[in-house]
Symmetry: C2
Subunit: 268 residues, 2 copies
């Protein structure tokens, strides 16, 4: 099934746009499981099981696994296998390389690991994107406007009054015309820009990280986008919501709270 159809079906069923970011740090795990050899796997599995009813997607951040080398990749493969069919899986890998290398990265993420989507860096342009886009039932979220302070360095570079992030949005909207399988990463902290970017790129699914504990942010984000072709991502505020044996219940409560904030914005 095409990514967008899958997303629409999930949104309809769960009334959720919530993407839960799995960024597990061994140092932050609850003491009850932090000592186990397979602590990261167990932690993520429990989080997934407890929150799946409220989540439209899970996003696995590759950095947190690669720090453990091949062993970390093994854990990541196991966790990817735990994401239920009723949720989308996103490889937060931010890859970007020329054609032949991109082909292998796509094969790794979509073929071998079976993810529904990936995050990618647009800097090298269209031919670095195409090998990912050729997997037409999957989706590729290109970095557009990120929420970190360093976004100012290059993303606001301006040509004839148009910032680079807007040019990226414009190009990706064109790339989307082939298989309708492109998305854009836009930080929630830049919510005043969301409306502008949505006008430039009406067809792209937005992946919006940076929604934290603040109650109002989800509403602000969705009002600015004006539609529900999006996933809103939260990581630490959910997975570290509890710090003891109740970590899974606490994560579920926070996921439910965010899902409830999204519900009014999802078309029936």
């Amino acid at each position: 099934m095409h990514f967008k159809d899958k997303l629409a079906a999930i949104q309809k069923e769960k009334k959720s746009l919530l993407c839960i970011g799995l960024d597990p740090e061994i140092e932050k795990l609850p003491p009850a499981i932090g000592q186990r050899k397979d602590a990261i796997y167990v932690f993520c599995r429990e989080i997934i099981n407890a929150t799946a009813a409220f989540a439209a997607a899970y996003k696995i951040n590759f950095a947190f696994f690669e720090r453990f080398g091949a062993e970390g990749w093994q854990t990541m493969e196991k966790i990817a296998g735990e994401i239920p069919a009723g949720c989308l899986s996103i490889a937060d890998a931010k890859r970007g390389d020329i054609g032949n290398s991109a082909k292998h990265y796509a094969e790794a993420i979509f073929g071998r690991l079976g993810f529904d989507a990936v995050t990618a860096n647009p800097y090298m342009g269209k031919d670095s994107a195409e090998p990912f886009l050729d997997w037409k039932d999957r989706a590729v979220f290109f970095l557009g406007l990120t929420s970190n302070p360093g976004a100012i360095d290059f993303q606001f570079f301006q040509q004839n009054g148009q910032p680079l992030y807007a040019a990226v949005a414009q190009h990706v909207e064109q790339w989307n015309s082939t298989h309708d399988n492109c998305g854009l990463v836009v930080g929630a902290t830049k919510s005043e820009k969301l409306r502008q970017i949505r006008q430039i790129a009406p067809g792209l699914t937005f992946l919006i990280p940076g929604v934290g504990a603040q109650g109002g942010t989800v509403a602000t984000v969705l009002q600015n986008i004006g539609d529900s072709n999006a996933l809103i991502s939260a990581s630490r505020s959910i997975i570290y919501s509890g710090s003891n044996d109740d970590f899974a219940e606490a994560a579920a409560a926070e996921a439910r709270r965010l899902q409830a904030a999204m519900q009014p914005f999802i078309a029936c």
Copy 2:
């Protein structure tokens, strides 16, 4: 030892700026070893052993290993261990993410895998670069101007007449002022731009891929840079120079040929 000191010592000893790219594709390996279960490891080890006298560095392209998942990472770790102390090791991983994720990527590549250098994507700006740069005896090669057709999409975006790739060079030159451990990736096919970029970024080590079978290119590249603070990378033209049992000798001959073309440009 600091990356630049190591590079200078190697250049002095070997009269080489040659970086050999390890992009092994199982489909292209010589029949004699292509059937073995550990074919990719054996192939890379034999290439390294045969060419080490002419190589200043080896560059491992992560995409070609990640296509095999955790198993590919295991192979990559083993191959990284085969790179001799007299050569630099570069992780061609093109990573780029926000602070905490970047910290883990740096830990993976410099800490766990022990690479001397990494390639990174500048799109997310300075705070995505810093966790790598904090490893002050290692080096980070940021994508500047790449040699693929898609480079035109964003790298030539212009603000007041300055293209984005030049702005990246300018920023990275500033980032370099802290630990003198920054480099820039500039494609050899853009050799007319090398002179311009060297003027903007006199302190950066250039990593120059795209030197193929063409005899003159090495000379053109080095004349345009005007110094030897660089590594010139070739991959397929070396590792697939022979296609039979003589693959290692053929690779050595091609590596020696490129090294000989570089020798006149290296200061005594």
